[in-house]
Symmetry: C2
Subunit: 313 residues, 2 copies
């Protein structure tokens, strides 16, 4: 499990990455815009760096070229010998947690074809700084759905791009097809980034931030599509499940519609909350949806920073 | 302009093609299902042949490999010398209009990321047989939107896959992201194919089919995104235009939202009807949407077939 210590100093080295997946256009066009007009990423105590994380995949308008960049950053990968300069683009930022030259914080911008609305992805329930950020974003626009998803798979280490920073968070907005840019999601993502940078500025100013109760969704398991004997799809997500991300799925409810006509029902014993339902990128991974459980837990207060560290650069 | 004569004999050689674009999954999975269970494509007077049109692109889950198959079938392409067996998969069916071994009819199944609902694509207003088919499909489910789109660009020849048959029509259903399969569109496309085969069976039985008035949308022009001096996107489709395919766009209405914040307004002098709004596959073609005009025209009666030709095979 990745345990990320709460920062004890102001965050100066902040990156906003887009195009980690080269066909998720909101982050790509936001980063390209900020590379031309970086003023939007400036705050009194820091300036966030816009990074186009995977130019090769972006040029090809594909999720990745060769390997999925957002499944890459295991410790084995981060500590391997580097030959030449042919590694993925984000590699110069690598430093694993706490090791130089790690960024203090990475916001890694993603979109999904699933009806996830604004979803904030955090490693786990111990990731206190990111969870304070999530809480701040939820309070900024309480009328808009903005759920927290804990992405760490039990007994697996983190491998997402933002895990190379000391702290990080991944906004995942949907639904948006791959390869196109919807204005509504673009605007929402831009507002989330602005509010996230405002939160980092608030933190850098040094006040203590009180504890709170957080509701989030944690991965239980992955569910594959029904398949023929040859391994091809034999059905797809049921219309009664499609687009119902985060809603409760109760035992006996339909989850798949077979091409032959009949329904496949959910046979679990307890209610779960499916997410990433019918995400295009997960067909190759054999995932029709994730099963999650909804849980509530306490996030501890962030102590005030020492006064001498709060000034701007 | 492609002028397709009304058939004078029953249609025996009918194909249903899917995967002409390898990331439009509804047609791909329908064809794969029918290859395993072809009974659904049988009618008393013919059996339609399911064809996976572009296996290489389908295996890669990309629109095409090398060249866009659905922009390929110009007469120059169809009459070129063939060396070896390396042409696109649909080539053995090639025969241009009326030349053996052309299919009598091809239904070429497509999906779009645009909010087109069920759209029936026909070359032009002279394509009487296909327009009778469209009318039949509209009457089968009058409560569902099912618009006719005339795809032929003024002064350009046809190049779509279905143009290699003596007659053809392209159902285009959306919205569906590339690379995934929505049950609702799958079911709707399957019903449209069934009703289309029923219509061909009806035609083969030989009765005259009366004339009618048809409403359709014809291409006027293509509109590109606003761009920076370097040619990159400078904005995207305005939220007030997004998802409004086929609805009237009036002078002065917003069409783009710039990343810098301001709106771009439609400066034309007359109302148009945008279609294929924000289709992912058209970014590379420099098209944000098509402008069409809505028109009404008469489609002549189809005469009765001679009785001796109406029996089944």
């Amino acid at each position: 499990m990745c345990l990320r210590p709460v920062p004890r100093e102001p965050l100066r080295r902040v990156a906003v990455t887009g195009g980690t997946h080269g066909n998720e256009m909101s982050g790509i066009y936001l980063v390209r815009h900020w590379l031309r007009a970086p003023g939007e990423l400036q705050r009194p105590s820091f300036s966030a760096t816009p990074v186009l994380a995977n130019p090769a995949a972006t040029a090809a308008c594909r999720r990745y070229v060769g390997r999925d960049l957002n499944r890459t950053f295991t410790s084995a990968f981060l500590t391997r010998p580097i030959r030449g300069d042919k590694g993925p683009r984000a590699e110069p930022a690598a430093g694993a947690q706490g090791l130089p030259p790690a960024f203090d914080f990475i916001l890694d911008l993603h979109t999904t074809t699933a009806n996830m609305a604004a979803c904030l992805i955090v490693d786990n329930a111990h990731d206190a700084f990111a969870l304070h950020l999530c809480r701040h974003l939820q309070l900024q626009s309480p009328e808009l759905p903005c759920r927290v998803f804990l992405s760490q798979v039990p007994r697996k280490e983190s491998f997402h791009l933002d895990s190379i920073a000391k702290n990080g968070m991944t906004p995942e907005l949907g639904p948006q097809p791959q390869g196109l840019l919807r204005a509504d999601l673009f605007t929402r993502m831009r507002a989330l980034v602005a509010a996230a940078l405002d939160f980092i500025e608030l933190f850098n100013q040094g006040p203590a931030l009180p504890a709170f109760e957080m509701e989030a969704y944690r991965i239980l398991s992955f569910v594959d599509f029904p398949r023929t004997e040859a391994g091809d799809l034999a059905g797809t997500v049921h219309p009664q499940l499609q687009d119902r991300d985060f809603e409760p799925l109760r035992p006996g409810a339909p989850i798949f519609q077979m091409f032959s006509g009949e329904d496949v029902l959910y046979e679990g014993e307890s209610t779960v909350h499916p997410v990433f339902i019918n995400e295009a990128a997960y067909y190759e991974k054999g995932i029709a949806f994730f099963q999650t459980e909804k849980l509530t837990f306490s996030v501890p207060a962030l102590p005030a920073l020492a006064p001498t560290t709060t000034r701007g650069p």
